[in-house]
């Protein structure tokens, strides 16, 4: 008789490292996402009972695979029995074909699962939800909480996406070689969006914080599955470097703290080290043609390695934003470049630059802040007030209010 707590820990540990491979394998076997997840869940429940009684098997992952596969076969047999009344038996695939004991799990299956869940024919919200559910193993309730919707809404979103996969004919397979780069970018976009959902609204103790950890987990998985892809390493580097500041960005009262004002000793050194390691790999793999994730990671690395806000290498950051604007033009990048120019050349340069760019969220706030730095408090105050009317996120509103309060005292 083994201690049940140890068994539960063993099952959890095996699932943590093997779950995505198990689910992917079951998707290959059954052709169904939800059934695959259920079978893995059932196998884990069975393990709790069986391993306590008979001891932990020699190869826990293989035990879970076999058990999950047997669940799938049972399920299919039941369904075939029901289906026989409706269709000719020949039309239903025989479950014995699944049970081939020689067939182990295919190491590429988790990647196939990712490409499937992040397929561009699915709506973005569905891709994110499905990836978190199927690949990261979150419960429907956890995803619903993270995205501030009801469990029912999230359940419908997931089932609509699964239906689309089935009805539109999205297959469990790798993209054609000439589409691989784009499809990998689609997967990375889902991971980055997941990260930002958590990162941009950090509230200590809120379930959204987990999204940061989930996104990091997905980035680790991508690195494992696509070790030769420079941008995948760039993405992981970017996530690690940004996540290193996660807990320094918000004060105990929930008020956001700008990077300039953050206590750099609270940044997570381990995540910075991991981020810099990934960045080095991305640099080695992409050489002279850096992609957007690597470039953003380089910028994040400049901040992460600067001894103080004042000692930040703004010359290099402006150069990096210029490269980034070339490979991935966007008004947000223009805004960030203008801000970087302000820190390199002074507030007047930023104000001039900001006047030339498209109006995007955050532009008015940045403009107001450089007016403040330029010693033009009245104009700054008017601009902050205008920005407050357009501010959409809590963090932005609180920052602007704090600045207004500062200017009024």
């Amino acid at each position: 008789m083994v201690d049940p707590t140890d068994i539960a820990a063993e099952v959890t540990a095996t699932l943590r490292s093997e779950r995505v491979r198990l689910v992917a394998h079951l998707v290959r076997v059954t052709g169904e996402l939800e059934l695959a997840e259920d079978c893995v869940q059932d196998a884990a429940a069975a393990a709790l009972v069986s391993w306590e009684r008979d001891g932990v098997p020699h190869n826990p992952a293989a035990w879970l695979t076999t058990t999950a596969r047997n669940r799938a076969i049972d399920h299919h047999r039941r369904r075939v029995a029901e289906a026989r009344r409706l269709v000719r038996a020949d039309d239903v695939r025989r479950p014995d074909e699944w049970a081939d004991p020689e067939r182990g799990t295919d190491p590429v299956d988790p990647l196939r699962l990712l490409y499937m869940c992040c397929h561009p024919a699915l709506p973005m919200a569905g891709r994110v939800a499905l990836t978190l559910k199927t690949v990261a193993g979150l419960s429907t309730l956890e995803i619903a909480r993270a995205f501030l919707v009801s469990e029912d809404t999230m359940r419908r979103r997931l089932s609509r996406s699964r239906d689309k996969i089935r009805d539109a004919g999205i297959s469990f397979r790798l993209p054609e070689p000439h589409r691989l780069r784009q499809r990998t970018a689609d997967v990375m976009a889902v991971v980055y969006l997941t990260f930002n959902e958590g990162y941009s609204r950090t509230v200590r103790g809120h379930v959204r914080d987990d999204l940061v950890a989930d996104a990091l987990m997905l980035a680790d998985l991508l690195v494992e599955l696509l070790p030769d892809d420079a941008e995948v390493h760039g993405l992981r580097a970017l996530l690690c470097l940004q996540a290193s500041r996660q807990w320094s960005r918000v004060g105990p009262d929930g008020v956001p703290i700008t990077m300039e004002e953050q206590d750099r000793t609270t940044w997570d050194g381990e995540l910075i080290r991991q981020g810099l390691d990934s960045l080095a790999l991305a640099q080695r793999l992409s050489g002279a043609s850096p992609g957007p994730y690597r470039l953003q990671a380089e910028i994040a690395a400049c901040h992460a390695t600067a001894p103080s806000a004042g000692a930040t290498d703004w010359i290099r950051i402006v150069d990096l934003y210029e490269l980034l604007a070339r490979v991935q033009p966007s008004p947000i990048i223009d805004l960030n470049r203008a801000i970087a120019i302000g820190f390199r050349d002074g507030p007047d340069a930023a104000i001039a630059q900001l006047a030339t760019i498209q109006d995007v969220p955050g532009r008015a706030t940045a403009h107001a802040d450089f007016l403040r730095r330029a010693g033009r408090p009245d104009e700054a105050l008017a601009m902050f007030r205008a920005a407050l009317a357009d501010a959409s996120t809590d963090a932005e509103i609180q920052t602007i209010r704090r600045r207004i309060a500062g200017l009024l005292t």
Partner: protein, 115 residues
């Protein structure tokens, strides 16, 4: 799986896109070689459309298409593809993917569980 391909015009397409479009013959050579092409039809202009319905036992015939849109379907095709990625690949070689837009709709199949 079988897919229906709708082709719509998109006046917003740039000359650059238009000039990048492959020749229609090139596309037909490709689908002929690939197989699975069942039907393709170019439609008369939308001005020729007629909408028909029977309402409260009465036949109603009206002039024009049933959708209120600035984009008109001007071609349809039905073809067999391995899966959606395969269908997307086929659609992406259609010159109308450069000149307009293409909608892919899977066709319901009658049959067993595995369809």
């Amino acid at each position: 799986m079988r897919y229906l391909m709708f082709v719509v015009e998109d006046p917003a397409r740039t000359d650059e896109d238009r000039s990048a479009a492959p020749e229609v013959e090139e596309f037909f050579d490709y689908v002929r070689a690939k197989g699975g092409w069942e039907l393709a039809a170019r439609l008369q202009p939308v001005e020729s459309a007629t909408t028909v319905r029977v309402q409260a036992g009465e036949l109603l015939v009206t002039d024009g298409p049933f959708t209120e849109s600035k984009e008109w379907i001007h071609g349809v095709a039905i073809f067999e593809a391995f899966d959606l990625d395969d269908a997307i690949e086929i659609a992406s070689r259609n010159p109308h993917a450069y000149l307009g837009r293409i909608e892919l709709r899977p066709i319901h199949s009658m049959g067993g569980l595995d369809d």
